[in-house]
Amino acid sequence: MQTKRTVFHSRILPYFLLAPQLIITLIFFVWPAAQAIWQSFLRQDPFGLKVTFVWFANYTRLLDDPDYLNALGATFVFSVGVTVLSMGLSLMFAVAVNRLLRSGRFYTTLLVWPYAVAPAAAGLLWWFMFNPSVGIIPYLLSFLGYEWNHRLHTGDAIVLIIIAAAWKQISYNFLFFVAGLQSVPQSLTEAAAIDGAGPFKRFWTVVFPLLSPTTFFLAVINITYAMFDTFGIVDATTSGGPSQSTNILVYKVYADGFIGLNLGPSAAQSVILMLIVVVLTVVQFRWIERKVQY
């Protein structure tokens, strides 16, 4: 690529200019990550008097711990649920808006709002709406004969955090899907219409396959979001309960480390999470490199 190069005559200036970003990265990312890795090999006695180096004992113990395996399962259900729900809804909205782009502006603005809401606030919002005693949704559901109580029913609890987390992500997915849809040439759908494909068939056989780079990109983003960025939502709605059913990995790190004060195993968990992020990031970058896959 041909880019304009700036030549610095001073040797120190470039480092000086990079320094703020580098310092932030070092202090807030690299240093804690290194500490977590170091911690994950250590074990403290309950009174914090003695620290022993235990190699991989924290890791092997984690993988034998039914609570951890349960959290792994919950995380899987949760991430898939959030990804499918939020992407499915945003795709629907995007298709609808794409059809009427003029008046679409207004809807687009509305649909983008949730993205600006902080996770904890979003969690609180859903906590209120689904609150078994004062919430509007349990009240409405009771007319359908369904007794909603996410404090007692594990299924309700999982559904609640999935909805709350998916809702926040819809805006982001929606914007990408709208952009993706706009880049599908109109003549392709016209050709398909002449070729005898009805609107549904046109969408699934022509438009959707052409959206696949966007879809894949968003799938990775959403899984990453669901796994790592949903602490606030879980904390504000279910706090991991009932009976650990919504204790997803990122929440368990916090619960074990800061509430249970079990630093070694908690650090091992966060290292595993870190590895998952690395894998997802690599997959995503690989994919973006070969953007056009058809």
Binding site: P185, A192, G196, A197, L210
Partner: protein, 366 residues
């Protein structure tokens, strides 16, 4: 196979833009019609109304004996070739061709047979397993043609299908489209803004201007007897010379010069006079002629174009490259080669029509 009848069709887009006005056009079964006109004159709009991709605001379109105003594009029994080809990028060439047949529930064996036949006709058999992005522009063009012909539709609609190809490929694909259309005998409407493409392909030309038909006719008819100054300047290259003149009885005055018309004057008074560059020649000493001041020349190889002025009006003449040039020359034209147009309306004035325009084009034996 079917005839297509466009009856008093008009189009007003949703913003209130009027694109097409009162088009009446009857296309015979198997005929090759070319819609030609400058950019924005409504060619694509008209074609897309026939295809069913735009709603018809006024009038009706009939394919065969059926009014199709409210028929879905898929059910109009037409195939369209788009300017950007609109091939499905994620499907192989085979699937691109087969898509329309699959959607219509054609049995697999028949699909295979039809795709194979179309591929053979277009010489794309070896590319059937490739994706469009692995093809050259010309090959993509063939695939787009193939997608149209596998369906064996009643009509082909082409919207500037060759404009993305280089000049040489355009000429050869032009020939190929004509050959295929003759062989299949499918009624075709072809949109282009290239007058040469229009002349070479059409059984009949439809010249559009500002959403209205200026003239319908066989290419030579349009060339030799343009119905208006617009058609005269649009069809033919170089464009027909159009100058102001005045008719005095049987004499025509152009600037300072006066020439006799041998009884070809259609009216009297001020007129627009049209004359094709190739109908002008260097005058003999003993004949009536126009004084020509040479400005510059253009070499075309077989011909040389000389540009200059008669009085204060621009004139271009095509002469043999062997003829010696000088800054001041005299050029002559046969009176029967002159075209006269009304100065107010630009319409052709009734009168003499050159003999060439009355000959039907010779059909080649295939």
């Amino acid at each position: 196979m079917a005839s297509i009848d466009v009856e008093n069709v008009g189009k007003v887009y949703s913003g209130g833009v009027r694109a097409v006005t009162d088009i009446k056009l009857n296309i015979a079964d198997g005929e090759f019609i070319v819609l030609v006109g400058p950019s924005g004159c409504g060619k694509s709009t008209l074609l897309r109304m026939v295809a069913g991709l735009e709603t018809i605001s006024e009038g009706e379109v009939k394919i065969g004996s059926r009014v199709v105003n409210n028929v879905e594009p898929a059910d109009r029994d037409i195939a369209m070739v788009f300017q950007n080809y609109a091939l499905y990028p994620h499907m192989t060439v085979y699937n691109n061709l087969a898509y329309g047949l699959k959607n219509r529930g054609t049995p697999k064996a028949e699909i295979d047979a039809r795709v194979a036949e179309a591929a053979r006709m277009l010489e794309i058999t070896q590319y059937l397993e490739r994706k469009p992005r692995a093809l050259s522009g010309g090959q993509r063009q063939r695939v787009a043609m193939g997608r149209a012909i596998v369906r064996k539709p009643a009509a082909f609609l082409f919207d500037e299908p060759l404009s993305n190809l280089d000049a040489k490929l355009r000429v050869s694909m032009r020939g190929e489209i004509k050959r295929l259309q003759r062989r299949l005998g499918t009624t075709s409407i072809y949109v282009t803004h290239d007058q040469l493409e229009a002349m070479t392909l059409a059984d009949r030309l439809v010249v559009l201007n500002g959403g209205q038909i200026e003239q319908i006719g066989a290419p030579l008819e349009v060339y030799h007897a343009p119905a208006s100054t617009f058609v005269a300047s649009f069809i033919g290259s170089p464009a027909m010379n159009l100058v102001k003149g005045e008719l005095h009885g049987d004499k025509l005055a152009i600037g300072p010069a006066m020439i006799g018309l041998n009884g070809f004057a259609p009216t009297s008074g001020a007129v627009t006079v049209g004359v094709r560059a190739e109908d002008l020649r260097i005058a003999r000493d003993d004949e009536e002629a126009l004084p020509f001041r040479l400005e510059y020349t253009e070499e075309l190889g077989a011909q040389r174009l000389i540009h200059g002025t008669v009085g204060d009006q621009q004139i271009t003449a095509a002469v043999s490259p062997e003829i010696a040039l000088s800054p001041e020359m005299r050029i002559a034209v046969d009176a029967k080669r002159l075209h006269f147009f009304s100065i107010d309306t630009g319409k052709r004035l009734p009168g003499h029509v050159p003999a060439e325009a009355k000959f039907a084009p010779v059909e080649p034996v295939l």
